[in-house]
C-alpha cells in the first residue's frame, strides 16, 4: 500500500517523526512524503535509510520536495 504524508511547513524533527511513525505503523510498503526544505529532505531520507527503507525517488517541486521511500 502507498500512503502519503504532508510535512510541508513543519520544522525539525516533525517530518522525521511523522515518517518514522508511518513506517512503524506497518501498513505501507511505499510512502510519499512532501517537505518544503532541503534540511527536511535530507533528514527524512537519512531516517528512512536507517530504518532499512530505500529512497526510491526525490522530485523537486516548486514548493519543496516529494520524496518516495519504499520498503526493501
Amino acid at each position: 500500500m502507498r500512503t502519503k504524508i504532508d510535512a510541508r511547513g513543519l520544522s525539525c524533527p516533525q517530518p522525521v517523526l511523522m515518517t518514522l511513525n508511518e513506517i512503524k505503523a506497518g501498513r505501507a510498503s511505499e510512502i510519499e512524503i512532501l517537505v518544503d526544505t532541503d534540511t527536511s529532505q535530507e533528514n527524512v531520507s537519512r531516517a528512512a535509510t536507517t530504518q532499512g527503507w530505500k529512497v526510491a525517488d526525490v522530485i523537486e517541486e516548486s514548493d519543496g520536495y516529494q520524496i518516495t521511500i519504499r520498503i526493501k
Binding site: 525539525c12 524533527p13 517523526l17
Partner: protein, 364 residues
C-alpha cells in the same frame, strides 16, 4: 538531480564540528573571553548591552561573529538555492521561548556551544550545565512524541526573510560608524565595555570572517547542538551528535596546544560554581531550544536562510538578555543573580505550559 550536499554527510558534519571547535579556541586566543571563543547567548547578551537594552557595563559589544553567522548562512542559502522565505509558525510563542532560553542560558552563563567550549577548556561546572541541557531536551522530546507542534509555516516574500539579515547589517553599520574609542564607554549610539568580558574581543575582521565561515558551513551541514542530543534521544541517530563531539574534541586539542586548558571547578573564566543552578539554568534553556526546534546557533542559521520564525526567536533572545540583566536574573562569576531562581522556575512553568498546550489540531 541536485548536487549531493557533501556537508550533510557523516564526514561533512564531523568536519564542520572540527572547524568550529578550532575556530572557537583560536578566537579566544585572539582576544575573545575565556572559554567563550563563540557563545551565541553571551554574544547576544553583549549585543543587547551595546545597544543599551541593558546597562551591565561589563557585557557591551556588538559581536561581529553573530552578524557573520546570519550573513554566512544567507550567502550559502543563496549560492545553493536554499533561500526559502517562510514564517507564521506561532511567532509569539517562539519569541517567549527565545527570551526564556536566553534567561536560562545566562543563569548557567553560556549556550550549548559555550557549555561544550567550557568543557573543552577544563571547566568542570560545564558538566552540570550539559547534564541539565540533556534533561531539558529529553523533556522536550516527551512533548514531541505526544504531538507537540508550533504549526506550519507559510511561504512569504523574500523581503520578510531578509529582516534579520538586514538588522545584522545594521548592527555592522553601527559598529563601523561608531567604533570603540580608547578609554570611552560610549561611542555615538553604542555602549562599549571598558573591563570584563565585553571588553575582550578578537579584531573585528577576524571575528567577522570566522562568523561568516561558520555561518556558511553550518547552513550547509545543518549543524545544531540541541538537535544533536534530541535526535539521539528520539531516534538513536548520531549524525548531528558526531558534529557536536567533534567540536568538543577539536576545541580541547587546540586548547591544549595553545595553553588554554585549565581543569577544575573554581576560578574558571566567566563561570560560577553553584551546581544546582548551573544545572537548572540549562534544563530551562534545553527545554526552550527543544520546543523551538533548534539551538541558538541554529536559529541564527535558519534566520539566514529565510526562516522568519527563527528570526523572531533571535529577537526574543536579545530582549531576554536585556531583561536578564535589568532584572538581576543573569549570573556572574560571584554566583546567581538576585532573582535568578525565580526566573528559572517561571521559565520552566511557561515552557511546560507551552509544551502541554501546543498540540496538533485535526486540521494541522
Amino acid at each position: 538531480m541536485r548536487l549531493r550536499n557533501v556537508f550533510a554527510t557523516r564526514w561533512g558534519i564531523i568536519f564542520v564540528g572540527l572547524f568550529i571547535g578550532v575556530c572557537a579556541a583560536l578566537l579566544q586566543k585572539w582576544g575573545n573571553p575565556g572559554n567563550m571563543g563563540i557563545c551565541v547567548a553571551c554574544f547576544g547578551r553583549d549585543i543587547a548591552g551595546a545597544l543599551g537594552l541593558h546597562r551591565a557595563g561589563v557585557v557591551q559589544y556588538i559581536r561581529p561573529e553573530i552578524i557573520g553567522f546570519v550573513m554566512g548562512s544567507l550567502i550559502a542559502a543563496y549560492l545553493f538555492k536554499e533561500y526559502r522565505p517562510r514564517l507564521g509558525s506561532a511567532p509569539i510563542v517562539r519569541f517567549v521561548l527565545g527570551a526564556f532560553a536566553m534567561i536560562g542560558a545566562l543563569v548557567f552563563l553560556g549556550c550549548p556551544w559555550r557549555a561544550a567550549l567550557r568543557l573543552a577548556g577544563g571547566d568542570g561546572n560545564a558538566i552540570l550545565g550539559l547534564v541539565g541541557l540533556i534533561l531539558g531536551i529529553w523533556i522536550g522530546t516527551l512533548f514531541l512524541r505526544k504531538g507537540y507542534t508550533l504549526g506550519r509555516t507559510q511561504t512569504t516574500n523574500a523581503a520578510a526573510g531578509w529582516m534579520l539579515p538586514l538588522i545584522m547589517l545594521g548592527f555592522l553599520a553601527l559598529l563601523i560608524a561608531f567604533p570603540q574609542i580608547e578609554g570611552q564607554s560610549r561611542s555615538g549610539v553604542l555602549y562599549y565595555s571598558l573591563k570584563g568580558p565585553g571588553s575582550m574581543h578578537a579584531p573585528l575582521l577576524i571575528s567577522l570572517g570566522a562568523g561568516l565561515a561558520v555561518g556558511f558551513l553550518a547552513q550547509r551541514s545543518r549543524f545544531c547542538t540541541m538537535g544533536a542530543i534530541r535526535d539521539f534521544i528520539l531516534f538513536r541517530q548520531n549524525h548531528l551528535l558526531l558534529g557536536f563531539i567533534a567540536l568538543v574534541a577539536a576545541a580541547f586539542i587546540t586548547n591544549l596546544i595553545v595553553g588554554q586548558f585549565h581543569p577544575g571547578f573554581k576560578n574558571q573564566p566567566v563561570a560560577h560554581t553553584m551546581h544546582i543552578w548551573n544545572f537548572a539554568g540549562m534544563v530551562l534553556a534545553g527545554l526552550a531550544f527543544a520546543l523551538a526546534g533548534g539551538c541558538p546557533g541554529r536559529q541564527l542559521f535558519l534566520s539566514g536562510e529565510g526562516d522568519g520564525d527563527a528570526a523572531v526567536f533571535v529577537m526574543g533572545m536579545i530582549v531576554g538578555a536585556g531583561l536578564a540583566h535589568n532584572f538581576g536574573l543573569a549570573s556572574s562569576p560571584k554566583g546567581i543573580g538576585s532573582y535568578g531562581i525565580e526566573a528559572v522556575i517561571i521559565g520552566l512553568t511557561v515552557c511546560l505550559l507551552i509544551g502541554f498546550t501546543m498540540r496538533k489540531r485535526s486540521n494541522a
